[in-house]
């Protein structure tokens, strides 16, 4: 389920999403839940914009010296008694994790929320090998029950309504009394908690993602609101952190800076409820913690982005603000994008990871309204990066033929004003005739995409450039006439005196 790619069918997905009344209702929550809260919390912090600059600079600096920081990080993790594993590909990461689980004879694995686990299709892989993964983040748990992929990077079940979730719980928790009341979101939460508690205690391995890896201390950091991540990484005997290379940050101090923009941008909170730092396995005298501590660091194509046009995308801290503010995401939701990462960040990152031939629609399905860039806490110029993908598609002749021909025809004229002016004049006059005395048209040849949903105004009878010329000539004529008359009047005056 998780790594199935439907991005090539984006248009079809989008059409289905627009017709899905249930989904459309759920998408209303994105606006209500995120946008206003972010605005309010950002406006309460005078240094917010400065912090965004700092966050950007920290990430840029780290990326420029990533090799050094990765080495330093590995050294520190090892010193603390943990093990770092390097995974060049998704397959490597799956194998490494499976090996650890097998060695620990794991039957159940609890999981904190991790987009990288989605990226590598970890759950399916574990299931295939007889290991039961249990998602412990409420949203992830719900979509696991439904065998669905997340539709948002921080709110995986945002596409669902409460009644759908209630039905899922009644179906999946069949051993609980049927007459129990699940009307309130809080009661759903309580039920999930109770069900998960037993699983936490039974788990042999806990797998979490990481929001940051700190080179200075060898620490992994997770940011959550439910506390499930803490139980996932503390209770089992083995803790595996799964993260990608761009999660590196040099120092603790740097993390505290970025944390100040992360939750504000993501959920509009000043801080998330839990910010958990873990460094190495349990030491003698520690009250809790795992016996083994592993970090699997995934590349999966990212290192090749460092030297290229899409480097800035690696600053992303996965806050989700870009999708919350995206009109396209708001209209079609996350599943339409067809892979793990939706919205503007997905439109840039997905082609890098699965190929532009498969993800070609994503960077095109944007109005370039720029709201994503406006809110991105690390100031990633998302529209510019999407345009870079469009350049590549054009170069590689991947853009649709109709677009290329249409553009070619238009360019033929637009490049030659001497041809453009008479041709467009003729076209607009024809269109005006075609439109007749009505002000607008309900149908227009070759513009079905427009007129299926809206009217098109009938142009004025002549182009501006042609009208302007006439207007100027008329003005000049009037001026000359007035002057001539003045001269005449002067002469007459002379005669009279």
């Amino acid at each position: 389920m998780t790594v199935q790619i439907t991005s090539p069918k984006f248009k079809k997905n989008a059409r289905a999403a627009l017709k899905d009344a249930q989904l459309q209702r759920a998408l209303g929550k994105v606006e209500a839940g995120f946008i206003g809260k972010r605005r309010a919390v950002a406006s309460r912090l005078p240094e917010f914009e400065v912090l965004r600059d700092l966050a950007r600079d920290i990430k840029d600096h780290t990326l420029a010296h990533l090799d050094l920081y990765l080495e330093a990080y590995e050294r520190r993790v090892t010193e603390e008694g943990g093990t770092v594993h390097w995974a060049a590909t998704a397959e490597d990461a799956r194998r490494i994790i499976l090996d650890i689980c097998k060695r620990r004879e794991a039957k159940t694995v609890t999981k904190g929320k991790s987009m990288i686990a989605e990226e590598i299709g970890l759950n399916d892989h574990l299931v295939e090998h007889g290991i039961a993964p249990v998602e412990t983040d409420l949203g992830e748990y719900i979509i696991q029950l439904r065998n669905e992929a997340p539709s948002h990077i921080i709110a995986p079940a945002i596409h669902l309504n409460r009644d759908q979730i209630e039905a899922d719980f009644r179906r999946s928790h069949a051993d609980l009394p049927a007459e129990r009341n699940l009307d309130e979101p809080a009661s759903l939460m309580a039920e999930a908690r109770a069900v998960l508690r037993a699983k936490f205690l039974a788990a042999d391995v806990g797998i979490t993602g990481a929001n940051f890896l700190i080179a200075e201390t060898g620490t992994s950091v997770i940011v959550t609101n439910e506390g499930n991540g803490d139980l996932t990484q503390i209770l089992p005997k083995t803790h595996i952190v799964l993260a990608s290379i761009e999660k590196l940050v040099p120092t603790l101090e740097d993390v505290t800076t970025i944390l100040r923009v992360l939750a504000r941008s993501a959920t509009g909170q000043e801080m998330s409820v839990y910010t958990t730092f873990s460094t190495g396995p349990r030491r003698a005298g520690d009250p809790d913690g795992p016996e083994e501590y592993h970090v699997v660091i995934l590349d999966n194509g990212r290192s090749s982005m460092i030297g290229g046009q899409f480097r800035e995308m690696l600053r992303c801290i996965r806050c989700g603000a870009c999708m919350n503010h995206c009109p396209v995401y708001g209209a079609v939701g996350g599943h339409a994008y067809g892979w793990v990462y939706p919205g503007p960040m997905g439109a840039v990152l997905t082609p890098s990871l699965i190929g532009i031939d498969k993800a070609g629609h994503l960077p095109n399905a944007s109005t370039f309204c720029g709201r994503c860039e406006e809110v991105c806490p690390v100031r990633i110029p998302l529209p510019k990066l999407m345009r870079y993908w469009r350049d590549r598609e054009f170069e590689r002749h991947l853009s649709p033929a109709t677009v290329r021909w249409g553009l070619g025809l238009w360019a033929l004229f637009a490049r030659r004003p001497w041809l453009y002016r008479p041709a467009t004049r003729l076209a607009m006059k024809t269109l005006a005739l075609f439109g007749g005395r009505r002000g607008r048209m309900h149908w227009l040849p070759l513009a079905g995409g427009w007129t299926r949903h809206r009217d098109f105004p009938v142009p004025e009878r002549d182009t501006f450039q042609a009208q302007w010329k006439k207007h100027r000539a008329e003005e000049a004529r009037k001026k000359a006439q007035a002057e001539a008359e003045a001269v005449e009047a002067g002469k007459a005056g002379e005669k009279a005196t």
Binding site: V328, F368, A414, W450, R454, F456, P459, E460, T463, Q465
Partner: protein, 261 residues
């Protein structure tokens, strides 16, 4: 009215393809506003800024068009366009387009620095404080994306609209959210574009204002087309038409006046 000191600045009016072809009125409104502000207006022979090609990934064609625009307009004191989107293209994207080509980049930078969107040019450069227009009524104003986010145009149109005697501006919910036009986006992804403009139309209608204004004809045509398809009686016009005292002319998509009406 702005005080004119020294010679009148020579403004090359970059009228934009859509205004040239679909609604020349806006060009005349722009010319009037510029002349009233103390500029000399000229309209050199022109076609397009190249944005459709640029946003479709066709850099070679974009460059050819951009070179022509630069050559045509670089002799003017200012280039002014009644569109945040086209002004933004020349001002911000041309320099990026020519990055690495020193000669052209210098010319692109120089032109970019003198290129402005109409209303922000009037307020920020020509220091226009008010217009001499009377219009009894209520309008709502949509902030087009490029103007708002690339050029920071937000207060300028509201300031000048505030000086129209009798006019009230009723702000809509999410005035700063995209209308779904997006240039070629609206024909490449018509259903998504439609869903976005539908929301926008609802927000416009909810203000109760009988007129919608904005600064970009693409967005205006999109919103007007949707409102008309929804049979909503909202007249849609470019903000320049209101500021130039031309708001009694037929609105976008309305039939031309006949007889002496």
């Amino acid at each position: 009215m702005a005080e004119v000191t020294g010679p009148r600045p020579r403004v090359g009016l970059f009228v934009t393809c859509l205004v040239d072809l679909i609604r020349p009125k806006i060009g005349f409104a722009a010319a009037k506003l510029l002349e009233d502000a103390g500029c000399t207006v000229e309209v050199p022979s022109q076609s397009c800024c190249g944005q459709p090609a640029y946003n479709s990934g066709d850099r070679a064609t974009t460059r050819q068009m951009a070179e022509r625009v630069i050559a045509t307009f670089e002799s003017y004191d200012y280039v002014v366009a009644p569109s945040g989107s086209c002004a933004g293209m020349i001002k911000l994207h041309y320099p990026e387009l020519f990055a690495g080509d020193a000669g052209w980049q210098r010319r692109a930078d120089a032109l970019g620095a003198r290129t402005f969107e109409l209303v922000s040019f009037l307020v920020d450069v020509m220091k226009v404080e008010r217009v001499n227009v009377i219009y009894e009524g209520t309008v709502t104003y949509h902030d087009s994306c490029s103007g708002l986010r690339e050029l920071g145009i937000r207060e300028q149109p509201r300031k000048l609209l505030g000086s129209v005697a009798g006019l009230t501006v009723a702000e809509m919910k999410d005035a700063d959210v995209c209308c779904g036009f997006g240039g070629t986006f609206c024909v490449k992804y018509p259903e998504i574009s439609n869903a976005i403009v539908e929301k926008k139309a609802e927000n416009i209608v909810a203000t109760g204002a009988p007129m919608l204004l904005a600064g970009d004809l693409g967005c205006l045509m999109n919103m007007a087309g949707k409102l008309q398809r929804m049979r909503k009686a909202v007249a849609v016009r470019h903000v320049a038409e209101m500021l130039a005292g031309m708001a009694r002319e037929p609105a976008i998509g309305e039939p031309p006046k006949t007889g002496g009406a």
